[in-house]
């Protein structure tokens, strides 16, 4: 069912486009986008169809999202290439003014409560629609994340799937040096979630984890990823939360991807 080779090739091309756009616009958060490429690709290729909904809560990773929206024809290449230019609709935190984008984010801790409300509405309406939300590991610092989990488990929202892009780096440091997130799996389970721990770059694992079962529990996927994935000199480096590649680094980065 899944042609892994084709998908990995698409992922590579998306990474190249992310790097090119970041270079051109001199925009931040390239590492945050590179860690989520496979997750968004599998979601949009197989799951965000008909009335299923996706929310990018880590809105600073807009570049990967805009590239995916272009790949799946929500926005054209001209629009994608307008990124970073004055009057573009593509701001550097994801915006609902962009075709295909459900919800504007940028301030952390907003996407999951919204997704929870969305999932509740689907339950009220007795639909089978699923709500997928991608949050960052930094958002595990936010009170609204844990409040929403309390609400989602209490209301048995098994149509809600929370994917944590666990690249283990947040704004100023590694997550483990900011607050104590671990033991994450145990914490999520104790809140009443159906927890899956996966390699967030493995296509098959991502695909399997996104299949939701009716068990009265929201699903929380701990997607273990690498910040800056694919570009050796960017991987696991805090610097690439902020920096954009210059022309020389861009060439080197694309070379390392090929």
């Amino acid at each position: 069912m899944i042609n892994k080779k084709i998908i990995l090739n698409i992922a590579k091309n998306i990474r190249i486009k992310i790097l090119e756009l970041s270079n051109k616009a001199k925009s931040s958060h390239v590492g945050s986008s590179l860690s989520a490429v496979e997750i968004l690709l599998v979601l949009y290729k197989f799951f965000i169809k008909k009335k299923n909904i996706f929310i990018l809560s880590k809105g600073h990773a807009c570049l990967v999202y805009y590239c995916i929206l272009n790949k799946f024809r929500y926005i054209n290449l001209k629009t994608l290439n307008s990124y970073g230019k004055n009057n573009s609709i593509l701001m550097s935190h994801v915006s609902h003014k962009v075709p295909g984008v459900e919800f504007s984010t940028g301030s952390l801790g907003h996407g999951l409560p919204y997704a929870t409300g969305r999932a509740l509405a689907e339950k009220i309406n007795f639909t089978n629609n699923k709500i997928y939300v991608l949050i960052s590991d930094g958002e595990l610092n936010e009170g609204t994340t844990w409040e929403s989990l309390l609400f989602a488990t209490f209301n048995k929202l098994d149509n809600l799937c929370i994917i944590i892009d666990y690249n283990k780096i947040q704004s100023l440091d590694f997550t483990k040096n900011i607050l104590k997130i671990e033991p994450l799996k145990k914490k999520l389970e104790s809140f009443g979630c159906n927890v899956k721990n996966i390699n967030g770059h493995n296509i098959n694992e991502i695909y399997r984890s996104l299949l939701l079962s009716k068990n009265n529990k929201p699903t929380a996927i701990i997607a273990n990823t690498i910040k800056g994935k694919g570009v050796k000199f960017m991987e696991n480096k805090i610097l690439w939360h902020y920096k954009s590649p210059d022309n020389k680094q861009l060439k080197e980065a694309i070379k390392s991807l090929k």
């Binding site: 609902h96 459900e102 919800f103 504007s104 984010t105 940028g106 301030s107 801790g109 907003h110 999951l112 409560p113 919204y114 997704a115 929870t116 409300g117 969305r118 999932a119 509740l120 509405a121 689907e122 009220i124 309406n125 009170g143 609204t144 409040e147 929403s148 309390l150 609400f151 209301n155």
Partner: protein, 290 residues
């Protein structure tokens, strides 16, 4: 006012199954009527106001008209960014219902007083402020909001059942509603919200009136443009509000005259910041309205 609000919401929910009532574990003795009648349309978010507004946004984006019921600062300042980003920016039909306007919660203290809420809510471009003066205006406001779902802020006095209008007045955003008017008068009082009762009792004492009285229950950023035509008819407009002057209704009126050529004197009667930390009943604390 809160009981009338729930009665009106129950009547509306009989016809509209998309009405949702969301609370943050508040509303004892008030919301039971709704949740008994419509258990599938009522949710308690627990004591988590910021997330509650996010849930409201998600529900509203799915076609629901969400009423979030709470007290003064809890559904406003506590979750200001959620109101800004999730509701107002996305222009979603969520009505924040705030009970205990001004110093309505008297002895409960400053944490429970709504004295700066206009300043916050009127800074959101899409949000309509609904501040009814009496029970008839309240019914009119609910009717308007149900007919025109949008981001809105319904500000209610805790317990008044005051009635100044005989019938439900014809209200629309930015429109002044006449309570009484003397054609020759060059001065008018203008109020928003339940402070009208206090205004009539305190400032309008005898029958030998040489001024008019108006109320404006619906207003917001979009509706400043209508004010000049009303204001310019008078030499003096006294704006009364149970709110601080800073960022309040009178400030909004003043801002509406920006770049206009006008001679009208705009005066403010608002609650002094000296009320902060003072203990007393609503009636006692309203003495700080000067």
């Amino acid at each position: 006012m809160r009981d009338i609000f729930i009665d009106e919401l129950c009547s509306a929910a009989e016809k509209n199954k998309n009405i949702i009532l969301l609370v943050n574990d508040l509303g004892f003795g008030v919301v039971e009527k709704f949740c008994t009648k419509f258990p599938n349309n009522y949710f308690n978010a627990g004591i988590s106001e910021q997330s509650m507004i996010g849930y409201a946004a998600g529900l509203a984006a799915s076609g629901k008209h969400v009423f979030v019921y709470s007290i003064a600062n809890f559904p406003t300042f506590r979750c200001a960014e959620q109101l800004r980003n999730d509701i107002d920016y996305h222009n979603l039909p969520v009505t924040i219902v705030s009970v205990g306007a001004g110093v309505g919660y008297g002895n409960l203290g400053y944490t429970h007083h709504g004295l700066q809420d206009y300043s916050l809510m009127r800074s959101f471009p899409n949000t309509l402020i609904a501040s009814p003066g009496d029970i008839m205006e309240l019914k009119g406001c609910i009717k308007y909001i149900l007919k025109n779902p949008q981001p809105s802020y319904l500000r209610l006095d805790k317990s008044t059942k005051y009635q100044v209008h005989k019938n439900i007045p014809n209200i629309s955003p930015g429109r002044w509603i006449k309570i009484f008017s003397k054609t020759s008068s060059k001065k008018t009082y203008l109020t928003t919200g339940a402070v009208i009762e206090h205004t009539i009792k305190k400032f309008i004492k005898n029958n030998n009136l040489d001024f008019s009285l108006h109320t404006m229950p619906l207003w917001g950023m979009k509706y400043k443009k209508y004010q000049y035509n009303y204001i310019s008819k008078y030499k003096e407009v006294v704006v009364v509000e149970d709110h601080f002057q800073d960022g309040g209704f009178q400030s909004w009126i003043n801002e509406s005259l920006n770049k206009k050529d006008y001679k009208t004197k705009i005066l403010s009667k608002s609650i002094s910041s000296k009320v902060v930390g003072k203990v007393g009943s609503q009636e006692f604390l309203m003495n700080y309205l000067k």
